[in-house]
Symmetry: C2
Subunit: 556 residues, 2 copies
């Protein structure tokens, strides 16, 4: 046991081979910390699902060891699982984050009616001890203010976890990635670097957020009518730049969309967003202000169907009616999978006569993640012994590992891990240990974790091929059909002559039932199987479709 | 009537505000021609649908006028609706295209068991008369050989229809876009230019296909093990370059994937693909050839789940087993909507140890469509009086119309049309006339046109919220429930205590039935509505989901 406790374990529970639900466990002896607790949003593979959480059973089973949860910044893919994790833990565990990060988390916990969380503010540049771990928080740039990298001192060696970062030499708030702090930490020796891989496939460097301000001012100065800007509500730097460009152009900012209203409020209260009261209003209070004196700041940059921008595009927004000649700026890039939804909204805006400015037509968006050359700089600043690329699909992790090799990290010291991989460090070096329990937990309506592959597969079959129900009433003694079968279909196309087809299907069912009855079958399961096989065959012949078939047998 | 017959009508039936199902009608008096008859592929909005066709009722209703169907090139979004259209027309109508285009169409018609099509080969540079229309076919470059623009002389004025095109100064087959032919046609005066808008948002010029050959040779020369290249099967130029690079590197080309096998065969037979017999084999015949002497040419560049590349990535391909160190080249770009599927395949390939080269890491793909500067050149070469951007979503059509304004086409002479728009030309100029019947027809299994919005909406509800069936047997006289209700759910999550919930639901149903029976209700529809309302409410309370609810009432 003592031997075993000398080892350090690093276990990513989320964020590998995916963009989202970031979560890393660091464990030594009786002490454990967690860095980030994020969610992921569903896609075509998970119809009907609301959210995806990392499976954090490993943490729950060791909850007595858990000394704290560190959140690197306030994005959902780093904070969103926190309410679920805290509820499941059921014991008060400190949550550490910077001021804005905790401000955003506070709002989230309130929505989940969690009142007793132990939120502990850390200062960028500050230091905290959690059990055997010593933590330094190092300021980094990202597409939300107040992000930090975490430098973790452990008895076995030091770990640098970058969080999400970019290297912005001209940041909007003057708070750049702290190279001196990184270098100072690195001089103490870094055993393991875990670094953000999101943009590892992008060559060169990521442009500074400042270039977006230049583009926005240019657009705002030229626009003669109303301007609408859609962006991520959490991107306070971007929001600041929209505000600055609006005020410079003599326009007020009218905010619309729930998360944009909330986040601008929180950011102003906490001192992260600066705009005079008279220059920022709710979109409900726009009445009377001429179009050319307004910039509407809106949610919906991802084409979300119920967002403010989608409502504006569909002429369905309560206070913002688009006029021909208005300018709409999409100040964001579509997250993979959202391309079509964004395009759909843009097409509708164009049809209404708006001039839509997007990343393809002006520099109205830059990434919040470091590109290849900056990842090299991080590696060379830190000079780690071991390297684990995190935050990215497998393709990004491989690209990042190539970058690490290029700057001299030995191949054998680079580990491309999976969620649930366990990397163990001792005085002998690093080695992979057994996979831990890991995976994905689906949040679906009020249910957390009850959706499984069966339900998802059912939904996919229902979506592509529909459903056919056949209800037969049988005589309990003989198994003979007691009355005409009922046949109901949904999402299935029976062709132009559907009545004839339904009638043929009923004939087929009657024949099946005559056969089973003749054979003396009264077992419902046998009858159901016969009905399912026969009706499935019939529908395939006539439609080349394989709907879900649900036979119901009732005894009368 | 005579007056009316003097007018020329141009009616796009597909390809506007969408990428796909291109189709344009040109009509004058008793003569009508159709340019292209394409399909579109389904997306999330059309679950379970196989194909989308343009609604060509307008053509069917005037079939006696139809003098011919011109196909500009052999891509599915220009040819795919032809089998359906020909079947629906039921009369022999000439189909005009170049040799390769007709070769590919021939294969398609055979699949649909259409034997009597009147395929008429036209030579690029050739001339044909169809009724009052005089047609010139002008060679253009595209991502398939043998593409043409169509110059249509009409009694009212001349029309230039570009088809899909790019301007490639160093084409693989030496057959460039014929600037002299375009200029010669243009000198006769062009009343209307209809031009490809796909890449109108891309600045600058589209690189020559030749650059891909350089990148491929470079990759092939360096690779030490097997190489797998995935591309579009119809992209014969790309296939030629893969073949050339393979032969230059001393490797044989092994072809896999049905459409790749078919298209390479057709292209070789018709003289569009040149590779010696001994250098091209079927992937089934690879046995015994060392890995470093093989280039596998595969379908699946769009991440299609059943394609050869997806099978290789899933270790599920009959003859190609991936080895760590193999090189996979994705020589294509994901069509919008396919990004995630392509990424998924790439991630699996990386996990198997392959080095995956894609557009982001080397110039292994270039577009087949002209970018902004080339669109300007086309406009300036043709100098049209009127301009209609075609082939693109609304955003692309707007971008193209901006380009046209920039080169001097007057704003009032630019028409951004929709599918079904009717643009009428007379000696007085152009004017919009009434919209014609148009839209989308869904092909779903064996059904063409029977899927409607109801079915699609049903499928979407089924996919997101599942289905709940409740079957009650009632006494025909009293309406009283005769036995316990049956409750079946699919795709719906009842939570961890699903048995208790089902039991509660049955209690709720029993109560509803007691109430209706007490009220003397025997009308099935009234009972069904009561069941649907009550069960819907119950499920919403317990799950926050709104599944489709199907009540079935049986009398016993």
């Amino acid at each position: 046991m003592t031997q075993k406790q000398q080892r350090l374990r690093v276990i990513p529970l989320g964020g590998l081979d995916e963009i989202g639900k970031n979560m890393t466990v660091i464990e030594y002896g009786n002490d454990m910390i967690v860095i980030d607790a994020g969610i992921m949003f569903p896609d075509d593979d998970t119809p009907g699902v609301d959210l995806l959480l990392p499976d954090y059973s490993y943490i729950l089973k060791r909850r007595e060891k858990l000394k704290g949860i560190i959140i690197t910044h306030g994005h959902e893919d780093h904070t969103g699982a926190l309410p679920y994790l805290l509820k499941d833990l059921g014991i008060p565990v400190p949550v550490l984050g910077t001021k804005l990060t905790l401000g955003l988390i506070q709002g989230k916990l309130e929505e989940h009616k969690i009142k007793k969380a132990k939120l502990r503010e850390v200062k960028p540049g500050g230091h905290v001890n959690l059990g055997v771990f010593g933590l330094d928080f190092i300021p980094v740039n990202h597409s939300i203010p107040d992000g930090v990298a975490v430098f973790v001192r452990t008895p076995v060696g030091n770990i640098m976890h970058t969080g999400d970062f970019k290297l912005d030499h001209t940041p909007i708030d003057g708070r750049g990635t702290d190279y001196q702090a990184i270098a100072k930490a690195a001089r103490q020796g870094v055993m393991l670097l875990m670094s953000d891989s999101t943009n590892a496939e992008s060559t060169g460097t990521t442009p500074s957020e400042a270039v977006v301000g230049v583009a926005l001012r240019d657009i705002f100065m030229k626009a003669e009518q109303r301007i609408i800007v859609a962006s991520f509500a959490s991107h306070i730097h971007r929001v600041q730049q929209v505000c600055d460009a609006a005020v410079a152009a003599g326009r007020k900012v009218a905010v619309t969309g729930r998360s944009m209203v909330n986040n601008t409020r929180i950011a102003r209260e906490l001192g992260y967003l600066h705009i005079a009261d008279e220059n920022i209003i709710d979109a409900y209070d726009m009445g009377g202000i001429p179009s050319e004196k307004i910039v509407v700041l809106s949610t919906g940059s991802q084409g979300e169907p119920l967002s403010a921008l989608a409502r504006i595009a569909n002429s369905d927004h309560k206070t913002v009616q688009l006029q021909s000649g208005d300018t709409v700026v999409i100040s964001a890039t579509p997250v993979p999978g959202n391309e079509k939804a964004v395009s759909r909204v843009m097409n509708r805006l164009f049809k209404q006569g708006a001039d839509v400015v997007h990343k393809g037509s002006a520099q109205v968006h830059v990434s919040g993640h470091a590109a290849a050359e900056e990842l090299k700089l991080m590696l060379n600043l830190v000079k780690p012994e071991y390297f684990v690329p995190i935050h990215g699909e497998t393709r990004h992790l491989y690209a990042h590992s190539k970058i690490a090799r290029a700057v001299g990290v030995p191949d054998k010291n680079i580990f491309i891990l999976e969620n649930g991989s366990c990397l163990e460090f001792s005085e002998k070096g690093a080695r992979l240990c057994d996979h831990v329990e890991s995976g994905v937990v689906y949040v679906d309506g009020l249910s957390v974790g009850d959706v499984g592959q069966v339900v998802l597969r059912d939904r996919q079959v229902l979506a592509s091929d529909g459903i056919a129900l056949v209800i037969v009433a049988i005589d309990a003694q003989t198994g003979a059909i007691a009355k005409d079968a009922e046949l109901v279909t949904r999402g299935l196309v029976l062709g132009s002559d559907s009545d004839a087809m339904l009638s043929d299907a009923r004939d087929r069912i009657t024949k099946v039932m005559a056969r089973t009855s003749k054979e003396g079958v009264t077992d419902h399961n046998v009858i159901k199987k016969a009905l399912r096989d026969s009706l499935g065959q019939f529908i395939w012949e006539r439609t080349r479709r394989r709907p879900m078939i649900i036979p119901v047998v009732m005894e009368v």
